[in-house]
Amino acid sequence: MGLFILRRFGVMILTAFCLTFIVFWLTNLGPNLEKLAKTQGNARMSDDAVVSWLANRGYSQPLPIKYGQWLGVLPGYVIDGTDGEVRARCAGPGEAVEEASTFCGILQGDWGFSTVAKDNVSAVLPGRLANTGKLMGWVMLVMVPGALIVGVLAGMREGSRTDRTLSTASIVTTATPEYVSGVLFISLFATGTFGMQWFKGTASSAVENATFENFFLPVMTIALYGMGYIARMTRASMAEVMTAQYIRTARLKGVSFPKIVLKHALRNALIAPFTVIMLQIPWLLSGVVIVETLFTYQGFGWELVRAASNNDIEMLLGVSVISVFVVLMTQLISDIGYVYLNPRIRIS
């Protein structure tokens, strides 16, 4: 077990390096840097001005060196600019170049400076993450119990009318992407078009003060899309368990049906959905981006969209480090959890 976790950890770190390097490479491509220079400096810059603007700010160094500096394994640049100003990577705004430290990368805990938010990435992201965490927490609270109940109800009598109705309903929810259900919800429940103006169409006020009125729609929008899939997995797992020998034995012994479901079947049926729920979290991430954009909720996904559309390199890197970390951690937890929960694997 220890070796397995260690190996997974190694692969994880390698993956993280590759992914951040790809993001770094894509954001540091020529046209992207040119766009950055023009949005940050002056939209009508001449080509020469763009080149010197980039050179003065360390963007023209070779890619591996820039990546090393961002990681913190190479010393940050100190450039005597063509405009007479000396700039150092590690010198924050208002800090003298001489006092700046030599290394400043992600390994030193310095996430860089966001060119759009005009603040350190490490100052902006925690707040955004907390907002998204709040959203995801509520989504999980709605989605997981709902999906498990639907799945167990459908799977305990395979082929019954209840099963068919609930299965069809879960297919419908998996076929409704967030931007469709979000739009449907908003026009149904947040505008007067259908006379049911019960909720708010934006969640921007939910950052400070989340109420049922402004938070219900975004939570439901994300939860519904994930719910169908988990419910279907639970149903399949439950249906399989219900055909097992020990369930038949329990039936023949005369155990009542609710007791069979709750005491005998449920525990074994919930092993597979656990993995699915964990692996669903990275999927929720893209749902979060869509919903936060649609409902203008200032969380992690909203920040991703803002950073990406303005080529805010260091913010984008920070965002991708976090999302890659989340994806890989959930994979690890689901692997370990599966082994741990399943006695057949755990004991052998």
Partner: protein
């Protein structure tokens, strides 16, 4: 012209009837769901005279009631759809006129279903689809949009106005609004109202279907070619090849899809030529696939092989070169007369294939790992067949069941991805009538005018739902063998 109402004059007495029927149906459905948890299931009881009787009790009665209510609702809906064919224009309102516009689609659907049901025993898995209600509904929804796309793009039917024409005064107008004199297209109304640039929403919605119907299946086929060509050897040989390919696949899958889209599908990236190189790499896989497929089958008969391989690879190679060769990009070496077509949205196409291929790879690899231990593979190995023959002619046909099901699901997922791209305004022009872009246009004013965003949203939902139901039906029927 008077503006149209939703159901017109006929609706005045049909609507209450339909309302009652639907309410009763919903009540019966809920009652049945609740009772289904407590009451004993419907069982068959054998009578002494050899007949069977259903002794369902209250549950059985509700079931019977539901059947008739459902039929009644269907019949009423059919009246709404058929009545406009015989009644004068505008009598059945917007619903009726829309049904009238979709007339070619209805005819095509009826013909398809009739022929398929008559010959279903001879049509293999496709025919079996017509044994499952869910599968039939799914197939109907999918074919509805396929026929719509076909009639709109090829025969220029269905759409009532040009999807780009702006008519002043119709900005954000409600459904059924009459257009000013002299600007009427095929009919003098905007059936689903005008969008915020005063264009006809109904025409934009039906025109948008051509984009999805053309791109989504094609991109899925390419993703499958890539996934199969790489997944088969990874699963069959295992070892270092498998480790490397799986690592790369997991790497791509660990990327949040939207971050990847935001990084790849931008005008700046198109400038650097990366999409062209990716296209050159990804689109070569169909060539490899068909080359190896035919070569491994016929390499013992060199003459026959050459006779088949040369034209196939020739045509595919020409298509390949035409696809990757684009005017004004890094790959632009073909003379204009040789270049068949230019795809303006190559970057969208490439990124969708790129996102889908790793998942297909993982599925194919998993299936191959399972199937390579089978006896028929051992038999083929003993016969001395080549590795590629075994992979492509022994393993692949036996993995077709799950792959066909996944193919349907994946077209749906690709549709969702294309919508996501449109929703974030990536890669597509804002004038494009595709559903994602239209939803994106509509959502900006959603709280004031809800009607522009709803039709494309419902359209996308129905197509993806159709594909998912189709996949479900196929899975059910293929498991019955």
């Amino acid at each position: 012209m008077e503006p149209l109402t939703w159901t017109g004059a006929v609706g005045a007495f049909l609507n209450p009837v339909l309302g009652i029927a639907v309410t009763l149906l919903v009540v019966a459905l809920i009652a049945q769901l609740v009772l289904g948890l407590f009451a004993s299931p419907t069982t068959l009881q054998a009578n002494p005279d050899g007949t069977l009787a259903a002794s369902g009790g209250i549950l059985g009665k509700i079931e019977t009631a539901m059947k008739y209510l459902f039929l009644a609702v269907i019949a009423l809906i059919l009246v709404y759809l058929i009545a406009p064919l015989v009644l004068p224009y505008g009598m059945v309102g917007i619903i009726g006129e829309m049904s009238q516009r979709f007339l070619p689609v209805w005819i095509a659907l009826i013909v398809t279903f009739t022929i398929s049901i008559i010959y279903k025993r001879r049509l293999g898995l496709y025919g079996k689809l017509f044994d499952s209600t869910v599968g039939m509904i799914g197939f109907g929804l999918v074919m509805f949009w396929v026929f719509t796309a076909l009639f709109v793009s090829v025969f220029d039917l269905i759409a009532t106005h040009d999807y780009l024409t702006q008519v002043s005064g119709l900005k954000n107008k409600a459904p059924g609004v009459a257009v000013p004199d002299g600007t009427a297209g095929d009919i003098p109304h905007y059936l689903l109202g005008g969008d915020n640039l005063a264009r006809d929403i109904f025409s934009r919605m039906v025109s948008g279907s051509t984009f999805v119907i053309a791109i989504a299946p094609l991109a899925t086929i390419f993703a499958f070619m890539v996934g199969i060509t790489l997944g088969l050897p990874a699963g069959y040989y295992g070892g270092l090849l498998d480790t490397i390919l799986s690592f790369v696949a997991n790497l791509i899958l660990a990327f949040p899809v939207i971050l990847l889209f935001y990084l790849l599908v931008t005008p700046e990236i198109v400038q650097t030529g990366i999409p062209s190189y990716m296209a050159a790499f990804l689109f070569v896989f169909p060539l490899i696939f068909f080359g190896v497929l035919l070569n491994s089958r016929y390499y013992t008969q060199p003459q026959k092989r050459t006779a088949i391989l040369v034209p196939v690879l020739g045509i595919l190679g020409w298509l390949y070169l035409s696809v990757i060769n684009q005017k004004g990009t890094v790959i632009d070496f073909l003379p204009a007369w040789f270049d068949l077509f230019d795809i303006t949205i190559l970057v969208v196409f490439v990124s969708v294939v790129f996102v889908n291929a790793p998942t297909v790879f993982r599925i194919v690899r998993g299936l191959t790992l399972d199937l390579r231990t089978r006896d028929y593979v051992a038999a083929a190995q003993t016969r001395g067949e080549g590795a590629w023959y075994i992979m492509l002619w022994e393993i692949l046909p036996n993995a077709r069941g799950p792959l066909i099901v996944d193919f349907c699901l994946r077209i749906g997922y690709t549709t969702i991805l294309l919508g996501t791209l449109g929703f974030f305004g990536l890669g597509l022009s804002s004038e494009s009538p595709d559903w994602g872009s239209t939803i994106n246009e509509g959502r900006k004013l959603l709280l004031i005018f809800a009607h522009p965003a709803l039709p494309p949203a419902v359209a996308l939902l129905s197509l993806v739902l159709g594909l998912n139901l189709l996949a479900d039906g196929l899975r059910e029927e293929s498991l019955k063998d």
